[in-house]
């Protein structure tokens, strides 16, 4: 991963804006920001101490070439996808998507903060769901509960046991999923082939962009 990071850093030298435009999903929108600050003012997590740089600042930092600071920042990961900024942006920037695009790029380069809860959830969810095409809820819950260690997982599980029992009673949770049973897509092989094709197309697109640069 850090190899890719070095490659990218070398390819774009000082032009971080160009790097984001070409490598991050929706990155081509960053240059259109007019620094009005409506996104920052609209963000519900802005009042949360974790949001170090609101979107307006992230965009400005990209233009100012602060590569390391942006890519290692936990800020984009704090986005709750409420779409307030997206709706309000007078320049119609898809800010929510840009935040995810930058976060994903940082992850690809291996610069995303380790054990960041949003990152962890996304990763776990993705790995879980691509296996059968449907989420194995018991295993997903398990891996989230035991994220911070065995004892913490047990404690969390006990805390939530009433909810779990209720779900089982209402037939909303299949306990057999723990053993690998439970719902899955009819054509699991097809899902895997589809994902492989998507990856191939993505790589092709990014390659073309990098080539054009």
């Amino acid at each position: 991963m850090s190899e890719l990071n070095q490659q990218m850093a070398a390819r774009y030298k000082n032009n971080f804006l160009k790097e984001i435009e070409e490598q991050a999903e929706m990155g081509e929108w960053v240059k259109m920001c007019m620094q009005c600050g409506v996104c920052s003012g609209s963000c519900p997590t802005h009042f949360h101490p974790g949001w170090e740089h609101p979107p307006q600042e992230i965009f400005m930092m990209i233009r100012a070439g602060k590569r390391e600071e942006v890519l290692t920042s936990p800020s984009m990961w704090m986005c709750t996808s409420c779409y307030n900024c997206y709706v309000r942006c007078p320049r119609k920037l898809p800010i929510t998507h840009i935040m995810h695009g930058i976060a994903e790029y940082a992850y690809r380069l291996g610069l995303a903060p380790k054990m960041q809860p949003t990152l962890h959830l996304s990763q776990t969810f993705w790995n879980n769901c691509i296996k059968t095409g449907r989420v194995n809820e018991v295993r997903l819950t398990q891996s989230l509960y035991f994220k911070d260690g065995f004892m913490a997982g047990i404690k969390k599980g006990l805390e939530m046991k009433d909810v779990a029992l209720g779900l089982i009673k209402a037939k909303r949770l299949n306990i057999l999923e723990a053993l690998g049973f439970g719902h899955k897509c009819k054509d699991v092989q097809g899902i895997h082939r589809m994902l492989a094709k998507a990856r191939e197309l993505e790589a092709k697109r990014k390659g073309a962009k990098a080539q054009a640069a």
């Binding site: 259109m32 600042e57 400005m60 100012a64």
Partner: protein
Amino acid sequence: MSDKKHAAYICAGCGLGERLDIAALEAVAKKEGKMQIVRTHPFLCSEEGVAMIRADIESEGVTHAAICACSRRAKTEAFNFPTTAIARGNLREGVIWVRPDTEEARETTQEMAEDYVRMACAEVKAMTQPAGNPNTGMNKTLLVVGGGISGMTAALEASKAGYKVVLVEKTGSLGGWAARLHRRVPTREPFKSPEDTGVADMLAAIEADPNIKVYLNATIAKTSGAPGRFKVDIAVESGPTVTEDIGAIVQATGFTLYDAGKLPHLGYGKSPHVVDQAGLEALARAANGGPIKRADGKEVKSVVFVQCAGQRDASGEHLPYCSGHCCNTSIKQAIYFKDANPDVDAVVLYTDLRTPGNGEDFYRAAQNRGVIFSKGVVSEVVPAGDGLSVKFHDLILDDRNAQIEADLVVLATGMVPNSGVNIDSLTAPQVEGQEAPAEGEVKPVSILNLTYRQGPDIPQFKWGFTDSHFICFPYETRRTAIYAAGPVRRPMDIAQAIEDATGAAMKAIQAMENAGLGRAAHPRSGDLSFPTARLEGCTQCKRCTVECPFGAIDEDEKRYPVFNESRCRRCGTCMGACPVRVISFENYSVNTVGAQIKAVNIPDEFENKPRILILACENDAYPALDMAALNRNCYSAYVRAIPVRCLGSVNTIWITDALNSGYDGVMLMGCKHGEDYQCHFVKGSELGRYRMSKVYDTLKGMNLEPERVLDLEVAITDLHTLPRKIDDYVAKIQQIGPSPFKGF
């Protein structure tokens, strides 16, 4: 006297007949108003009613008619009898619409109506129908001073309207700043790319136009005369001075760029690679679409634009204002670079990006091309190696030590108007301790060289821009038939200047036509009255000549006033100023208003019915009263309102006469004055108020409370608050008690 015949017409329509005792009003007009003919009509402004009046004028020989119906601002087309002097008694907006329709209000409402009938009768008897200014000038040639975009536009537009134009340009070629541009900011959909300046087309059009006579390398040596008959001496470099007969003038003398030499901290003068926007245009023209090269021939790979260089400066050292066009101009110039080579780094450092017009689309187009816009304040530009280093405070990231390296730096300096001599500074007394002009500082040169007593140029307002009524009449200067257009009036871009010049040319044409017909120009457009002075009573005090806001009055060798009627706007400020009251208009004089004041019936002190005189400016306050009436916003029945042309025309004798004859209070309603003035005659309300400030001494002499005179600033939008203010004042006067002068 025998050829005068007075008639009063009373309307019973619009509810007047139901609310008022019309027979009693007729009796008042007949007995007290001494009208020879008194007629009532159920619908006076109908064809039938108007025909009745016209028949009286034709067969009965009526010369003076008091029409007691609605406000003088209503039904003006129906009640238009050009040969007859007309006074209007305002019974509808002035009485029934501002009074509640109740039994207890009936008596006071009727008294109010009777007073307005008395006033209309008294006014009309004191009037004569104006015949128009005989001293007209018929010349219809427009002089345009300045051959830039504004001047060329004014010339072409006037020519298109069928008028001859004389175009005078100081330099050796037309085109001004626009001719020095590579491209201009786009004016058409989709507003994405700089476009051709259009100067070449305009030059060709002017050359081919037989209506436009161009003087190059020429200045105005002297302007004398008046609208419709200006005589203008044009001094042509290395040639004889030519005299042209001119009807009206458009001054489109434009601007000079703020001297970037005053900005050494931004590197100007220290490095040849710091240029102003004009400097960059020159580089772009040299490159002609190819890569832009610096003075040393090196291709520019990175450029930084510094916005607000020496502008919007709060320290008082540089220009305090925003020049409006520079953000769009920098966007355009950044696009020059990106279009020639997309790999050039173009950064615009701004504090607020202001892109008027359709500039927002243009701004986006530049962002799309990859121009970087950064919010920051530049503190210093210093030479660094082969290029420059721009140090700035990044306002978004709050980084005080931000820095960018660039091959070239462009400073967006502002516009300084070429408005000639500040005539106010000519007359202003030298303040002690004030700095004398610095050595080597260029003294402004007069542009128009007017022979007016008030000074050689048109008056200036803020920061050297020419004065104009900013909101309502932007091209009107304080010199009739001389109009300012383009950046000499306020900072603006090409698109705005073109609009401006077109507007000014149209106004100038109106002024020439009005002057030819002996009528007033704006805002009393079409008024045929003009001031005359009974010189045998004049004490040569010069107040009228000094106070005239429009420079209409000169002095002869014996210091008597000489009126230039066609320069006059008919505000009556001279009439208000005259201490011996010798100045009057045929249909508006100390007498016409004085007679109305005296006509009002003043009840004795035991009736507990105060009388309060309202002198209301006809431009804002009187319409506000009318609109209050239209909204049925009621007010006290104890007030009697008389419209005046301007607060400046109010002669203090009216106030002392009113108080002497038993009025309990006087309300003056005029427009806002001062920095953001609203006065239609620019200085009228200010001069009027200054004069009124002396009234309080008179009040003291009469042993009256100062509250008996109230000066109220009224805007046309005050229709909802004004009735309350009137009622408050009436309550206050009732509290003070009746005037001791009642019954004398």
